[in-house]
């Protein structure tokens, strides 16, 4: 039977999941983090907040997102595959669930200015969107390298009125954008809220973001009940960079041992190639962006720049919840290469007529290697749509023709 979530896999009052988590922040951030820590549960549990949050998810985001039985995909793999269609949300990914929640928290805290970091640009777009919706000033930090490779999302953010500030330090990607956003917050402690886009960062961010994303598994439960007559699948499969869509897709099954949790990481050019983002394999314990977790680093504790074709999975750490799930054996980690992900994206497109985001394609590629039975019910979190990745897909198709 389903066990009580509060007593099992759950965050403690200091933000720990087992030995992972916490809040390793400089004193300059203490005030902001304390304010958030002391208020996020109360605010998000208030009837007023719930009413606004639910209404926006329904009428603005378009929830509930469908749970779709993928007939041809199921036939191909010889099992039962259901797709949780987060790609059909407004802005095209699960990211908006969290930004809606956080913008409402920011409003309750009286903040006038919103900052965010973004890698692929999906979180940046989702943040710019809710800022436009609420009439708040929005500044998005994005690595210079990512700005170049995710041009459509940069254009969308600008269209929505956000200022996109290039992170030019370090490796000029997601981790550096995160550093810049943290610095901005240190310099603007009073009027600014920082909307972190994943289940990373200091407590209470991992827990707060997981709660806002938990609507994914909340819906999955009743949708499965309607469609298959039981409210749990045999496995939930999701891609993990920082891990927000996975956290949401797992959330209501974390303590239900009947459900296997499959975390799919980006292997880049291969786990041992030196060009990878498979944190659970290559990472060791340490601290990144205020959280104790698994991260890719040198022997001297310098954080390593990861690699994946997918900018959203190109992060050297992993949320502390996922570090705990993988470390404790509750979740199974599978690594998928760029090539396997591209191939899976093409296959899903031509089998079901759905073009997934490159991040999401990793989750589908895991179907090739994971074990399952023909009677199993598998839920894949289809976290985002692939429009933003058409350049990469086009190149892949051209290369296939050339070969």
């Amino acid at each position: 039977m389903t066990k009580n979530i509060e007593s099992e896999i759950a965050v403690d009052e200091r933000g720990y999941y087992g030995k992972f988590g916490g809040a390793f922040i400089p004193e300059m951030l203490e005030g902001n983090i304390r304010e958030l820590r002391e208020s996020y549960l109360e605010i998000s549990a208030s009837p007023e907040f719930k009413k606004e949050f639910d209404a926006l998810l329904k009428d603005y985001v378009g929830r509930p997102s469908p749970l779709y039985f993928a007939k041809r995909l199921s036939a191909h793999f010889g099992t039962n595959i259901y797709l949780k269609r987060e790609d059909l949300n407004h802005t095209g990914a699960h990211k908006i669930n969290n930004t809606i929640g956080q913008i409402l928290v920011a409003q309750k805290l009286g903040k006038q200015r919103i900052i965010a970091e973004t890698g692929a640009g999906q979180h940046g777009v989702a943040t710019a969107t809710v800022c436009a919706l609420m009439g708040l000033k929005c500044i998005v930090y994005m690595g210079e390298v990512d700005i170049a490779r995710q041009a459509p999302n940069v254009a969308r953010m600008k269209m929505l009125g956000a200022e996109v500030r290039p992170a030019t330090s370090g490796s000029k990607t997601l981790k550096d954008a995160t550093n810049e956003a943290i610095r901005d917050w240190i310099n603007n402690p009073d009027d600014t809220h920082y909307i972190i886009g994943s289940v990373v960062g200091p407590h209470p961010y991992p827990d707060m973001v997981a709660r806002f994303q938990s609507v994914i598994s909340e819906e999955t439960k009743w949708q499965l009940q309607e469609q298959v007559g039981r409210d749990y699948p045999d496995a939930v499969i999701a891609c993990v960079g920082g891990g927000s869509n996975a956290a949401g897709a797992y959330y209501h099954y974390l303590n239900d041992e009947r459900v296997r949790l499959i975390a799919v990481e980006a292997a880049g050019l291969g786990v041992d190639s030196g060009e990878s983002a498979a944190t659970s394999v290559l990472g060791t314990e340490g601290i990144i962006h205020g959280s104790r977790t698994l991260l890719m680093q040198t022997e001297d504790g310098q954080i390593v720049e990861p690699y994946s074709i997918s900018a959203g999975l190109d992060y050297p750490g992993i949320g502390p919840l996922h570090a705990h799930l993988i470390d404790s054996g509750r979740a199974e980690a599978i690594s998928v290469t760029d090539e396997e992900a591209l191939n899976a994206a093409l296959f899903l497109s031509r089998t079901e007529g759905i073009i997934p985001a490159l991040e999401t394609a990793h989750a589908f590629a895991a179907l090739n290697t994971m074990k399952y039975d023909k009677d199993d019910v598998l839920v894949v979190c289809l976290s985002g749509r692939g429009d933003k990745d058409l350049a990469a897909f086009t190149k892949y198709l051209n290369d296939l023709v050339t070969e």
């Binding site: 200091r14 916490g22 809040a23 390793f24 922040i25 400089p26 004193e27 300059m28 203490e30 005030g31 330090s169 370090g170 981790k175 550093n179 943290i182 610095r183 240190i186 310099n187 402690p189 009073d190 060791t284 314990e285 340490g286 601290i287 990144i288 962006h289 205020g290 680093q297 040198t298 022997e299 001297d300 504790g301 310098q302 954080i303």
Partner: protein
Amino acid sequence: MNRLDHLFANKQADVLNVYFTAGYPELNDTVTIIRELADAGADLIEIGMPFSDPMADGETIQQSSMKALENGMTLDLLFEQIREARKHTQVPLVLMGYLNQLIQYGEQRFLDACAETGVDGLILPDLPVYEFEQHYKSMIEAAGLRTTFLITPNTSETRIRQIADLSDGFIYVVSSSSITGKSGKITPEQIAYFERINTLGLSNPRLIGFGISDSESFNTACQYANGAIIGSAFIRALGGGGEVGEICRTFVDKIKA
């Protein structure tokens, strides 16, 4: 006796703490910089352990850290450099860095190396007070080191007293709600904050840092604390090129002028 304790027992005012990043501008400048700063009259030297993701530092210090890492700086090399510098000077040395560096190096191994090479204190901006109390306090003290915590204008009195009770190290009074590397005049609001801290009757020595860049801001800060810390301004001086020893002497002379 711990050299920091010795310093503050003998000097309660105008303590000059100069920060630099180990391995910058050149990999092996560390020993020269320590010697020259000490000879020129710096009372205390804070050595930055370059880190790839220095969350609490401003752009100037981050750039110097990146350069130092490109130069090949490592903790093993830093300890060798400190051992060498200790042959020439007894100036108190404090290491500033991030907790991840200690965890990966091995906390005990790191502390043993500090004790053996002659480090006197640590500043780890992302070490939470709670974690310090639970996991690190006894091992750091056993290594004979002092731990410095930061306080800001937003730090509550309760929290300041908690920090003062837990640590014998000097308190790093962050002058404003901002990251390092900004400069400008000290404002009346900042002075009110410094005065508020002074009324608390803390036994820990206090040094003001962030935004201290020249003799004027140094002298002002010294009116409200035991001394002050200069970081980014010195890094900028080092980055301007020239002979490192000469830069150190000129810089300290100007501050003390």
